[in-house]
């Protein structure tokens, strides 16, 4: 740990994701390009809210996911989603062999194997001798991570982070720091979360679920749509990047984790935590606001988040607003997976100049002078992309992805 080098570059070498708009990165990017949202009626989750609350489900049964994941279908959907995306990320990284490389898996989620636990509890509550133990075996958050790590043969460093909706941004940040400390050479980092009755009902009691399709950063926004999925990046040290047969995707050039310290669930009206996270990430990367070519917003579509985030952006980017959008208008809010999924989108924005649309935007927020992008476009001049992830408990994290010159 004596070897920490702040200036050591950390590269993004591979990407993997699954969400309501596709089972892999290519399918998800196509959906973004074609303006196809993944939101709709509940069709897989067994809930009384079917037909009442729209969600963004991955369009696969657990059995179908288990075939893609090459894991048993009885395990948590969170682990199945995580496995599919993490394997895609590692495969796409074109690292010839992990042997001899110190490899880690840093994964995030918010409710672990809750999808199975909530089934277990139905039988267990009336009689504690009942309920299938295998349904609760993977309850804790770490269990899904361990399943994926064991499948991928990753042993050097395996950990799980849970900081609500910023979880997987923090996983990516932790992974980058492990590389800069010289502790690891390769890190698969991101997160996974399956839709559960627990989270659907939880967010429903908070009255922040839109009964229609969400409208992030719109003056008439009415809340968020929950989604599910998984997203991972493969981070590598410079030494590994040089050994790779293909080019790296981009560089993770900055990050910052702060706390809003305002309220357990609400963001401060001035978005203090968001401001500190974004400005801290810029400082960490040595960039200024005018260097940012695109912002992938946290943009949940709730009154509170979009105002806080927007106010913080106004303060930081005043007079040099880059294009920005919330891809949650496609994927829904995937909670512990969102930072990972949006890191994949942000990495490809840097690499290919993609600017993603913010669907269903109609009216500019009265408090803000800027509007999000409405159409998919390509801008090769994008060099740096900022990705925001903010969550309950005032947890605010921002990541910056940068083009690799040369």
């Amino acid at each position: 740990m004596q070897k920490y080098n702040k200036d050591m570059p950390v590269f993004v070498a591979g990407l993997g994701m699954i969400s309501a708009i596709g089972n892999n990165v290519a399918e998800c990017i196509s959906a973004l390009e074609e303006g196809r949202a993944g939101i709709g009626d509940v069709s897989y989750l067994n809930t009384v809210h079917r037909g009442e609350i729209p969600v963004a489900e991955v369009k696969q049964s657990n059995h179908e996911l288990s075939l893609l994941a090459r894991l048993p279908g009885r395990i948590s959907r969170t682990a199945l989603l995580g496995m599919i995306a993490a394997r895609e990320a590692l495969d796409s990284a074109a690292i010839e062999t992990l042997s001899g490389l110190r490899t880690g898996l840093i994964s995030a989620n918010t409710v672990g194997g809750m999808d199975k636990s909530e089934q277990f509890f139905i039988d267990f509550l009336p009689d504690h001798a009942k309920g299938k133990l295998k349904d609760v075996f993977y309850h804790e958050c770490a269990a899904s991570t361990r399943l994926v790590a064991d499948q991928l043969g990753i042993r050097n460093y395996v950990t799980t982070i849970s900081t609500a909706c910023s979880s997987s941004a923090n996983a990516i940040m932790h992974g980058a720091r492990l590389i800069k400390h010289g502790m690891l050479d390769v890190v698969v980092a991101g997160g996974a979360d399956a839709l559960t009755k627990f989270t659907l009902n939880g967010f429903n009691t908070l009255m922040i679920l839109d009964r229609a399709y969400c409208k992030p950063f719109d003056d008439d926004r009415n809340g968020l749509n929950l989604g599910e999925g998984a997203g991972y990046v493969v981070l590598v040290s410079e030494k590994v990047a040089e050994l790779m047969k293909s080019e790296v995707v981009c560089r993770l050039s900055g990050y910052c984790n702060t706390n809003d310290a305002y309220h357990q669930t609400a963001s401060s009206p001035d978005g203090k935590g968001s401001y500190l996270a974004m400005s801290g990430a810029l400082e960490n990367s040595g960039l200024t606001p005018s260097d940012i070519g695109y912002i992938n917003l946290h943009g949940t579509g709730t009154q509170n988040n979009d105002l806080a985030e927007g106010t913080a952006i106004k303060r930081l980017f005043d007079s040099c607003y880059p294009p920005m959008s919330s891809t949650k208008s496609f994927t829904g809010h995937t909670l512990g997976a969102s930072g990972g999924i949006e890191a994949v989108f942000s990495s490809l924005s840097v690499k290919s100049g993609f600017i993603y649309p913010n669907l269903r935007f109609h009216t500019r927020m009265r408090e803000l002078p800027f509007v999000p992008e409405s159409v998919f476009s390509k801008d090769e001049s994008v060099k740096h992309v900022l990705s925001n992830s903010f969550g309950f408990g005032g947890s605010c994290s921002s990541l910056i992805f940068s083009k690799v010159e040369g």
Binding site: K6, R146, S162, F198, T205, T258
Partner: protein, 353 residues
Amino acid sequence: MKIYIRAASNISPQQTFKESAFPFQAVEYTGNILKAIEPDYKDIIDAKAVRRMSRIVKMGVAAALECLKDAGEECPGAIITGTAYGCLADTDNFLIGMIEQSEGMLSPTAFIQSTHNTAGAQIALILQCNGYNNTFVNGGFSFENALLDAIMLLHEEEVTNVLAGSIDELIGLSHAVLSRFRLYKRLPISNLDLLSSASKGTVAGEGAAFFLLSSRSSTDDLARLEGVAIFYKPENTAEMANNIITFLADHELNITDIDLVITGKNGDIKNDAHYDRLKETIFTKNELINYKHLCGDYPTSVSFAVWLAAYIIKTGKIPTGAGYEVSEENKLGRILICNNYQNLHHSLVLISA
């Protein structure tokens, strides 16, 4: 860089809370449940805030605030929490309500508090700390990951101190589930006889402990945190013995440099045999003591051992025997904590003077 433990605070099934808590007279329990002895929270946390908090959050926040008070620190540079299970009571409350009321008429309070980072968030909120805040939920490594992250942050030199700790609670339903996995003793036993029980299973415990770690020394430091290492699923005791020797060598130490070893014996015959073999093979000349008969076994119990080690170094008093009668004062240089949880998560923590 040296890392100093400036203050440590521990709410556990023993009388460990507040700074004069070591040495303590062991509290005896019969049965396989060791619940934390909770302080009067009104003396520690604002009365209005405390009413809204669930039990585990109160324990975590109280341990954190007391630690900072001892350290004379108002707002640490970072707050890092480790918890295997998070806020179990709130999770179960919401889950039960959801099932019993068929997903209707639920209150958001339990859901809001069930989030794993609730304790870390509440600490930040009370202190108005806008700094780095993270929560590791990594089973039997959750606390060690928090310590490792704290060490990394201090080496990055953007902050000079970090509040790091762990919380895990024991509730009726989790005990009922874990009992079906045969984790615990089936017959009632005194915790003071736990480590000589020669049978399967352990006793369940819980606790909240926080530490103020600093890259700057002060006259009040308890001890130094010299190193932490984690080992996932080692093949056998021999591999762990090698890991221990390598870990010490990385710190330019030999086994004989260790004045005291705190083991993770928990009363389970198979688990404890691992430590007996280590004593026979590498710790032949070292003094060994145990701690899980006092706080029970749970995924983040290492925080109890770190608290214990810090106070042993500070006071020079070594607890002996199950009842924790203390010896005359000794001068100790180094204590090695050698723990495992469920034989999956093995860890080493080196505490020194």
